[in-house]
Subunit: 337 residues, 2 copies
């Protein structure tokens, strides 16, 4: 039921996935939501393998705008809560939602708990850069972080990039103000000191300006700064496009110009729209949780299901836990955990 | 000697200021830098009132890229250091520089000290928004802040906006993640609680996305977050323009489009370029310090001198000190200072 165009596009994405993987019998998709509405949507399609589908009825939903954690927890019948319960009870191996990010994140942290060896889960998202993409961790799962949390974020991001995206030994940067090692606040100075002693490809501090240059594969930051980074970026893109619209409508020359540049501008908008990048991953909880953007289309849903399947088959959670476990020996030697 | 085009554009700005204020005898401009170079530049102009000018020779300069504070302090002969000494020794009432922001800020904090009633100075900068401008404080004078520091930032910004920009009772927002009062980290939660109890126009939390919307006149944040906000914004604008260039060169249609849209795009670039907004103000030190952007042109220099004159005649420093003094009674009652 999650997302701006649910349940229609969610079902469409699921149907596309089933059709593309018609010979695969190693998966099952559980649709959690209002059963009647789901059936109504499914009737639009013919010739799909219903044996790959299961429906779990959920009477309520959490809207995209709701902000009240205390209220979410009380509602046992929401589709988000029920889906998380399925993962918790091992009736599902992963969860995909295009619903309210805050609600999925909070309920998943609460319902699933942290993985073994992980102190704090983190929300990760891919950002478009001039040279490809970078992963930013944490974009808001935590409001306060300690130095060893930033190390965990780095390791979780590293395992994800290596196993799911296929980037070997990813370049890891620490978001900071100023490039010198001595720059920053207490948190970043201590985290820098830890990261540089670990056996990872740590390239040092990166500044806000470097985020979209793409010289690193992974940027580690506390959840407050990461969230501000993400939202400021969205704001700048929106304002630039608004200004452009205003300018274009202001005279005949710019209208002509727009006519010719239209497709280029659309491509840029698409490239900068982080919703195109499949939303966010909640790393470090006891379960696979993929949170698509609210504006996800059918293709985004289909890709998110693909991603969750790969997460399961590549045993990414186990690998994260192993990696952190190994690293905690080093952290203990550094007297940090 | 500061800025990318010094000393030529600095002198040009000074000459323009003198010409525009030819009947005013209430000011004097002290040029601090390499005397020979200054004389050489001044010779390019005729009919300027040299009685409004004074030159203080400085043998060295700090380059725009230098990042080493410890090194700056040792060099007594740099133009930045000498200009700050003039303010400290009350031989000048204000300082304007287009030089290395970090160096001016650090040397000014160190050389001038904090104003009475101010715990921590802050760096403030104007940002362009859809509805005009907003002032962002702090953008990097401090790496760590306490709740009462954020209150100081709010009050200093308020006095500046009221007296220099002419905005009565400016709307003040607190940069946070999430709009609800209970959202955020320990710092923002405590600062929110303080700000809402003071006799100011506090409108609550704003998110990164709201920065460029322009619903508030003043956004208060810690120096780490403020610096990241500023630099991420610069990064996004740069990347968007790079992508646009790449797209434009990719085919003949977009080249035609660009031809017609050229002027619109230039206007947007100018609007979003925060260097157009006169750089930054160091609020809360014992002296007036205005730091123009490194790329300042003559007009920006002239405007910065105007601004510094207004700062002096409007007695902004005294007003800031008074305002904070008054507010500290309330803060003491709230048991925060």
């Amino acid at each position: 039921m999650g997302g701006d165009h649910a349940p229609a596009v969610v079902i469409e994405g699921v149907v596309d996935y089933i059709r593309e993987n018609s010979r695969d019998t190693t998966y099952k998709i559980i649709l959690v939501g209002k059963e009647k509405e789901i059936h109504k949507e499914l009737k639009k399609y013919r010739n799909i393998r219903l044996d790959r589908l299961e429906i779990v009825d959920a009477l309520e939903e959490i809207s995209m705008k709701e902000q009240f954690l205390s209220y979410w927890r009380k509602r046992e019948q929401t589709s988000i809560k029920k889906a998380i319960d399925l993962v918790r009870d091992m009736k599902a191996e992963a969860m995909v939602s295009a619903g309210n990010t805050g609600a999925v994140m909070a309920l998943a942290k609460n319902g699933l708990g942290s993985m073994k060896n992980i102190d704090r889960p983190a929300l990760a998202t891919m950002l478009p850069t001039l040279k490809g993409n970078s992963l930013l961790v944490d974009v808001g799962a935590n409001t306060e972080s300690k130095p060893h949390n930033l190390v965990e974020f780095a390791l979780m991001g590293k395992v994800y990039l290596e196993n799911i995206i296929g980037i070997k030994n990813p370049r890891i940067g620490l978001m900071n103000i100023g490039e010198e090692e001595i720059k920053g606040n207490e948190l970043t100075k201590a985290a820098h000191n830890l990261l540089k002693q670990l056996d990872i490809n740590f390239v040092g501090n990166v500044e806000g300006r470097d985020v979209y240059i793409g010289e690193v594969d992974l940027i580690v930051t506390d959840g407050f700064t990461g969230n501000v980074t993400l939202k400021v970026s969205e704001g700048v893109v929106e304002v630039m496009l608004s200004m452009l619209k205003r300018e274009i409508m202001s005279n005949i020359f710019s209208k002509i110009g727009f006519f010719f540049l239209k497709h280029s501008l659309k491509r840029i908008k698409k490239k900068l729209d982080y919703s195109e990048y499949g939303g966010a991953l909640l790393l470090g909880v006891n379960g696979i949780v993929i949170i698509g953007h609210g504006g996800s289309n059918a293709k985004a849903i289909k890709n998110a299901i693909h991603l969750s399947y790969k997460f399961v088959t590549e045993r990414v959670l186990d690998k994260i836990s192993d990696e952190i476990g190994k690293m905690q020996k080093s952290l203990k030697e550094l007297k940090y955990v």
